[in-house]
Subunit: 342 residues, 2 copies
DNA sequence: GCGGCCTACGAAAACGTTTTCGGAGACCGG
DNA sequence: CCGGTCTCCGAAAACGTTTTCGTAGGCCGC
């Protein structure tokens, strides 16, 4: 039903080749012809069929957002949403559309990265949720296709990473607690061999050492980034430890902080009066808890936006692959108590 | 680089037509040939190029998720996320991929629904976030393309709606408050001419009348579904009304409930001891507030899943367009106080 | 007046599929 | 032995673009 390039050509009395060149701003088409074609295309409501376009052209191809683990509930909630908002914000500003594909570790094994890209004529992709041992990580480094990973480090000539300085940020967060008089700090840890967990652990460790503290294995609660696990972990901690053995919970994510807070409250204790809690990520939801959680804001939306912009620039050859480290912000809210000097 | 149908054909010693038919389970290809082609395709890692496929075929086309207003912050948060999870859950189970397009009222004016579909060879779509006066609503009823709207009512032979019985659900929620002794109820209202607002209002009204109560204009706080507005509204209410003039806030969405709760707390009052609050939607975030909010769970994820399934069935001709009303669940949590009989 | 170089456009191949049509060969009944 | 009906596959058109190549015509300089 809608007009094809042929209809435009017929109406303008030229061939389809000319229409295509005119509309794509090729140099070798007369100014008047070009304008006439433009006008007619406009009148007919002509829109090029993207399928045909990307089939034919080696040049204009699609850009994709590939989400791994979206369906699993780990790393819950508005992280991905915010990321998407940033990405689609950029897309909308630049008149491009971005297709979204949901995968997981299993489907990665079934269909290779290159196959996925080939299937959908993907010129470049933004990938989020990749674990360091996922098949696609290796595939990425072998690929010549521009792509941007978020929060996963992949070194290769065509791969950019956007991330933040997790070590420094978590160091800063830890220091924040220490500055407020906390010495007895329990770390609520994320998935054990996740990149982000290790970096954050390093940050905490760094801050501990600098302040002459030691992070004992005893004071670490391991989780898989799940709220329930944090709650259960804190609960278990108190069953095996003196209530006075801790004054603050240093959580590797906001969801863990929420879980920890739940557990503390369910014991009849108050936050931050009895125990302080800090989170990490800057999820929206930390504004809705009571008290609001002091956390490190990753500025997730900006992260998405910058990832999209970076990929866009790479595809247009105006920016090389690079590691982009975004700034973070420690946002003070109400979940930390300053301890008097005893 | 990846194998095309031609490579498979060459390796199998047949023509591309045969390969295509074999792989698409056409009847007129010999069993052994089919198996041989299957095996070779497998070995070569052949995957059909979706662009070419949907360009050529009138049959196998794409299915899209079209989100309107995703970038605007109204109707915040995990509503869309949950919807997506449901939709992509279905997609993943059925081996289809669903492309996502983000639009708004403005882009709807710039590019018609048909054009959008044509551009991307969209056979059917799931639409969410449409306002009743959006251009695409009219376009949908004129279209012959199967589609499913979520929470927007569009009557046409090819359009299904998945929704819930908003009137009944809100009635039930209102009744819940009344059953617990609340008579002085303030309604925190959503966007004025939104379909959902009107339905929920009807539900509230219905319950009021049935119980011999009246809903006075004075006891309604209008918002645009924004948390801040709810907070400001409640704040303003208390500046102009007696604190005893209300015992419960009946909110048209969870976000509004969160806003209302904020305002109540910032006045130094407690929930639910001093004021009860109920929300609506069943957002995840209502589990993280303190107290957890009693609300009507829309089962958003299921909503997405069912919408995808419905569209899928329509596209395959095994289910007609219909209005699908999903069940809701009132979930009791901690934000409502039962008032003693005075 | 002729070879050369522009400019502007047409012709046609190519992208990778699906699908229609036709027919070669096998088989069978009479 | 012949006409008919299957089964299976090849040939080729079609989908709507982009892009390469070729060339007609104009203009210039000599």
């Amino acid at each position: 039903m809608p007009a094809t390039i042929r209809d435009v050509a017929k109406a303008a009395g030229v061939t389809i080749g000319t229409v295509s060149r005119a509309l794509n701003n090729y140099a070798d088409v007369n100014y008047h012809t070009r304008e006439r074609i433009r006008r007619i295309a406009q009148e007919l409501g002509y829109r090029p069929n993207q399928m045909a376009r990307s089939l034919s052209s080696k040049h204009v191809k699609n850009i994709a957002l590939i989400l791994s683990g979206f369906l699993e509930d780990t790393m819950l909630n508005d992280f991905e949403t915010m990321l998407m908002k940033g990405i689609y914000q950029f897309a909308s500003e630049h008149g491009i559309d971005i297709a979204m594909y949901v995968i997981n570790s299993k489907t990665q094994r079934e269909k290779s990265y290159e196959q996925l890209c080939y299937e959908h004529n993907i010129a470049g992709a933004i990938l989020f949720g990749l674990k360091t041992n996922d098949p696609y990580c290796a595939a990425l480094s072998a690929s010549h296709r521009p792509c941007v990973t978020i929060d996963t480090e992949v070194r290769s000539p065509c791969t950019s990473n956007v991330t933040l300085d997790d070590v420094a940020a978590f160091d800063e967060l830890t220091q924040y607690l220490i500055d407020r008089g906390h010495r007895k700090i329990v770390l609520v840890h994320g998935r054990k061999n996740a990149m982000v967990s290790m970096e954050r652990l390093a940050g905490a460790h760094q801050a501990f050492v600098r302040n002459g503290l030691t992070l004992t294995h005893d004071a670490i609660i391991y989780t898989n980034f799940l709220r329930e696990e944090a709650a259960a972990g804190v609960d278990a901690y108190f069953r095996t430890h003196d209530p006075d053995s801790v004054t603050a919970f240093l959580c590797m994510s906001d969801m863990l902080a929420i879980g920890a807070m739940e557990a503390v409250k369910s014991m009849g204790c108050r936050v931050p009066a009895d125990y302080s809690i800090v989170g990490y990520d800057g999820l929206e939801v930390t504004n809705y808890t009571d008290p609001k959680i002091t956390t490190v804001d990753q500025n997730i939306k900006k992260k998405g936006y910058e990832a999209a912009r970076l990929l866009y620039d790479m595809l247009h050859g105006i920016r090389p692959a690079q590691k982009l480290v975004l700034p973070h912000t420690l946002v003070e809210r109400g979940s930390v108590q300053t301890l008097g000097s005893e």
